[in-house]
Amino acid sequence: MATSETHKVPVIANPYRPSPARITSIIDLTPQEKLFELRLIDDSARDAFDFQSGQFVELSIFGVGEAPISISSAPSKQGFIELCIRDSGDVTGAMHKKRCGDIVGLRGPFGRGFPFREMKGHDILLVAGGLGIAPLKSLINHIHDDRHEFGNVTILYGSRTPSEVLFREQFDMWKHREDFDLVLTVDQPDETWTGETGLVTKLFDKIHVDPKSTYGAICGPPVMYKYVIAEMRKKAMDVDRIYVSFERRMKCGIGKCGHCGVGHQYACIDGPVFNYWEAMNLQEAI
């Protein structure tokens, strides 16, 4: 019988192909975390990159691999994106060795972010723990850019130690603002610390929440969610107005590789942001 020739075919419209992006700025935030500013090199890729706060990208470093990183800058900042990255694995470790001007790859944006438009016209209560401030920072900056469209905005941010507080310079400046109620707390204060101490949940005693008009957003280590949600529920906030962002192993970003399964959903396409009603109906979530 005749044998047919194997032939190479070009791959078109490849969702696995990263777009090259240049590192345009690196800021050391803490000994473990750096803030990278990136700019997609290709004009059309840059123009097409339209995202929501809460979405993530796959950071792609050839020879090492890919890692999902949430976007820290606001969608209103055009042309550049910021990624707050902790040195905690192969890809993030390799990223920490990069210098300004180096080129890495990006895929995305992926997932479902915070319902920014729906949140407009309401009070906002944002609660972050540790690196969980990274995706919320995007939302905070976005709200900042449209500040007049929101009611009271309260930010509760807990860290383990003062040296681990991310974006501290900006937050220090914001302490004096009247349009953001920003409360920082650390578990283990040092002699320089003048803010609150203890877990972020303790701060709920100090704040006023109007349950009729407040949207909540939570991001932090997995253990934090149920305690913060319990505090929000004590304030009578609605389950479908409390939003949580989950960290899972989003590997492909497009609902195929299976790694980010959480209950019957995939964090990469159905999340990573879910409202609490959805999360309550999601096994393995909280």
Binding site: K8, V11, I12, P15, P18, Q283, E284
Partner: protein
Amino acid sequence: MFFRVIPKHVLPDLVRGLAEQHEVVGPVAKGDVFVYAPVSDAADLRLDYDTTVLPAKRWFFPESEDLMRFRVSDNAVMEESLDTVPRVLFGLHPCDVNSLLLMDNVFLGDAPDPYYKARRDNTLIVGVSCMPNEHCFCDAWGTGETHWGFDIFLTDIGDDYYASIRSVMGADLVDRYVACRMITDEDTAAFQRRAAEFKGAFSNDLDTSQLPVLLDAKFDSDIWDRLGEKCLGCGACSMVCPTCYCFDVHDELDADQLHGVRVRTWDSCQFKQFAAVAHGQNFRDTRASRVKYRYYHKQWGYLSKFERVLCVGCGRCTRACKAQISPPRVVRALQTGVVD
């Protein structure tokens, strides 16, 4: 759909005709099992096979494939291509035809996978009817029959095949290469007898009703601990599964460390690191949680998105599992609360 009757003795003509422009892959004997393999002689095709060790997915989604070649210095993609060949998968059973339709939902839906799609577009499917072996339970999901997803489907009606033809290409090939005739009412009656015989040949009466409710209501049941104690965590169930699509991607550097290949391989939710993230967190760090997830996803997660369960009842995982964990056994455990 239209139909032809193809006498069995002329079927090799169809295989030879297809082989003029296609690689023909079908079931062949290998030791005391069957595998899908390229066929060079129509006589090697064993359409009387019961099942194959590996399913047909590897012809679209290989166990390992290069996604792209890259250069490290500027993070550039050097080459992005895939090997494909016009191919016919000849002799898939209904469960395996259905399994490809389930894979299509994932790989051809939103953000289509270009590697899978190129091979799918380049492959004809010729199905063939079967009789169940002791591990088959396609009757539980209704995947023992198929009405789309093939070019030609051959139902054995004795000395002839009752050929259902679904595509223009299938019609062309049948009319061009094989001496066939139009169907008669008698042929259709023979087809019906064969379908009834198939339906009557299943011995188990597995109750698959209300699985989404049971999976959620019994999420914390100790049946999962019992199953987790048995599971060896080998992942064989996923590898032989025609509908398991999870994959991993890793980079392989050339010896010069300057270039390399990004490679995709099959993965399994039964492997310990599957749901691990940075900082040592693992969302499924027990075997019980991993066994449970495989079933939870197949019978509920996938169902919630595509309105079908992600199982076709082929029985391959039952054969492959050294711990005797099988879908019927897990479903019975869910129904009764006891692992038998």
